[in-house]
């Protein structure tokens, strides 16, 4: 079995306990509600009989271990209950809204990486310059900025004052029509359908929310890139590379950057935690129809099944993303790969 495959399998196995923990915790969170869980799931407007029906239907009259097994069974079938507010199965709601959240998060991540890494590298190769100072200011400020506040600020400046950005009203303005769904990502789907105008409209709506979310992540990534790069640039093997007369770009990229990126990849795990959480806030500010705003609406309406589904989905995505980061690290760093 090739080394890389073995690495992936090993990492998958080590992620299983996390998934188990997530399942147990979400079960506890929603079944161990103070008061009567059935009343919560039935909703504030339910009559006592309706509550009893819900209790029977959800199996809340059975013992906790029995409930847990039933819960596992449901999850295995992909069922996550029904939403009171939309009347749909939670699974359908989440699947319908997931692409919106994913498109936003991925765009933000790409933006953050595209800004943070060059910024960190530039700051490290020119210590003491204005770029270095700017990188440090961005790093400190970035961790202090409330995400929702940044979003509102950007809306105020770029929509209200400058008129450059469209109204923060979701993924597409009222006049554009949704392209035929292939991936659920509007940018990709509109390109596939050849609808240039729709692509531009979708991109325009995506800019501010992705910028808000991305700005939040630039700070830890830039900080880590700069610190790591500084360390690597003064290392012995970079000195050897210079002594061998290798070109500046080879030394910088092939020798320094590749090594410096290792701790940055590890930082990505923490960045994902921020991103997935801040996603919720950004979706509220920009009325983005993703799973974050879905959960907020459900929470405020005391509709608990969607909240449970949301937490489970987010947590599983997070475990998956961390797994990806681990595997990526293993591919880049042979020391991890080979020490089987």
């Amino acid at each position: 079995m090739p080394r890389t495959l073995r690495l992936i399998l090993r990492r998958l196995l080590s992620a299983l306990p996390s998934v188990a923990a997530v399942v147990v915790v979400t079960f506890v969170l929603t079944r161990a509600l103070p008061g009567d869980p059935a009343a919560y799931f039935a909703g504030p407007a339910a009559t006592p009989q309706a509550v009893e029906e819900v209790r029977k239907r959800l199996g809340l009259d059975r013992t906790l271990p029995e409930q847990f097994l039933a819960y596992l069974g449901e999850l295995a079938r992909g069922e996550m209950g029904t939403s009171l507010t939309t009347g749909q199965p939670v699974r359908e709601d989440i699947l319908a809204r997931l692409p919106a959240s994913l498109e936003l998060t991925l765009a933000a991540l790409l933006l953050a990486v595209a800004v943070a890494i060059p910024l960190g590298v530039a700051a490290a190769t020119r210590p003491g310059s204005w770029i270095d100072h700017m990188a440090r200011v961005v790093s400190t400020a970035g961790v202090s900025l409330p995400v929702f506040f940044t979003g509102l600020l950007l809306v105020y400046v770029f929509y209200y004052l400058l008129g450059w950005a469209p109204a923060p009203m979701g993924r597409l303005d009222l006049f554009a029509s949704t392209p035929p769904t292939v991936t659920g990502f509007l940018l990709i789907d509109s390109l596939l359908a050849g609808e240039g105008a729709t692509f531009r409209a979708a991109a325009a709506q995506l800019v501010l929310p992705a910028l808000t979310l991305g700005l939040f992540s630039v700070a830890p990534l830039a900080r880590m890139t700069r610190a790591s790069m500084l360390g690597v640039l003064s290392s012995d093997f970079v000195r050897t590379a210079r002594a061998s007369g290798l070109s500046r770009s080879t030394v910088l990229v092939t020798y320094a950057l590749r090594n410096a990126l290792l701790p940055v990849v590890t930082t990505l795990g923490m960045v994902f935690s921020f991103l997935l959480g801040a996603n919720v806030l950004v979706e509220k500010v920009f009325s983005w129809p993703g799973i974050g705003s879905y959960a907020i609406e459900a929470l405020v309406a005391s509709d608990y099944a969607p909240v449970q589904g949301f937490i489970l989905t987010m947590a599983v995505m997070y475990v998956g993303l961390n797994l990806l980061v681990d595997v990526l690290y293993g591919i880049i760093d042979p020391r991890v790969r080979i020490e089987a």
Binding site: D236, T240, T250, R335
Partner: protein
């Protein structure tokens, strides 16, 4: 024929605690095919000197005077592009701690290929073959397989061989070896030094061997330069240096070297310590530790006397 000529080189470091005058008026010559040893205590400036010659000094370093001529070209004033072409191709360097001096996440074969592609104008395929040839030349067994290995999979001695292969890939005229055997066991030390010696003789390559081990220098070098606190205090052919040292420091240095017939207790340590290289310094930086110092040593600049052809001493009162 002079390959390298260092003329009154002076170098300082700017630090938060002041200016450190790490090298002052350092001069020596190196002929083609010759092996020169540079010896001295830790902190005497040996490595700083070698980095300055190669042009890879710390960014905080400032050359405050002198010249470094390689085949006539002044390396300190030449344009960077010319220097980059020289480094790795005409002049090369190997370092101590070879395992951390190699890129940890790149196969060693590829690291040698990088140098070949940069300087020798080969194609990728040709470079790959040549890299394996170099590994074989430095006597690494099973070079085909080893080329794909990473530094952490190799022993210290093997990593040093890889570094030598890297340095010699483009057949340079000058090799600077900065403490190449520190940290290796004695048998490996001998093997590495034999390898360097053989390869140097084969291609008439000049070698500068930097070491604090006087015994090693005595074995392997044609001439030796002794450094103390940023000064070259004596340069002489090896045999002459040991038979008739003319600088008080050299004599004491030789006296501290363990040798058969002398018990450890009989070795005399050199009193005092290296002076603080910041702030005001007297012309002779050894005077404070020297048993022969008197008023003549503080008056006027440090003289450089040629006591015999090829034998220089920087002392006002040589032995």
């Amino acid at each position: 024929m002079t390959l390298l000529s260092v003329e009154t080189l002076s170098l300082s470091f700017r630090t938060r605690a002041g200016t450190v005058r790490a090298l002052e008026d350092v001069s020596f010559d190196l002929a083609k095919g010759e092996t020169l040893g540079i010896v001295g205590e830790s902190g005497s400036g040996k490595s700083v000197l070698s980095f300055a010659v190669m042009g890879i000094s710390d960014p905080a370093a400032r050359i405050t005077g002198g010249a470094v001529r390689f085949e006539g070209l002044d390396l300190l004033t030449a344009p960077p592009r010319d220097l980059d072409a020289l480094r790795g191709a005409e002049m090369a360097m190997i370092f101590q701690n070879p395992r951390v001096a190699l890129n940890p996440i790149r196969p060693v074969g590829k690291q040698i290929e990088d140098v070949l592609l940069r300087h020798a104008g080969l194609t990728r395929a040709e470079a790959r073959v040549r890299a394996v040839e170099m590994l074989a030349k430095v006597r690494i067994p099973d070079p085909e397989r080893r080329a794909k290995a990473y530094p952490f999979e190799m022993s210290g001695g093997m990593c040093q061989r890889v570094m030598i292969a890297l340095a010699l890939a483009c057949a340079p005229k000058l090799l600077i070896a900065d403490e190449p055997t520190t940290g290796l066991d004695v048998t490996t030390q001998a093997a590495i030094m034999d390898l360097v010696g053989d390869l140097a003789r084969e291609s008439r390559m000049a070698v500068i061997l930097i070491t604090h081990d006087l015994g090693l220098a005595a074995e392997r070098c044609d001439r030796i330069a002794v450094m103390h606190a940023g000064h070259v205090v004596e340069v002489a052919p090896t045999a002459e240096l040991f038979a008739a040292p003319r600088h008080p420091y050299t004599r004491r240095l030789i006296a501290t070297t363990p040798r058969p017939g002398v018990t450890l207790a009989e070795l005399e340590p050199i009193p005092g310590a290296l002076p603080d290289l910041r702030g005001e310094l007297p012309p002779c930086r050894y005077a404070a530790r020297c048993e022969r110092s008197d008023t003549a040593c503080g008056a006027g600049p440090l003289p450089r006397l040629t006591v015999r052809p090829g034998h220089l001493v920087a002392c006002a009162r040589p032995l």
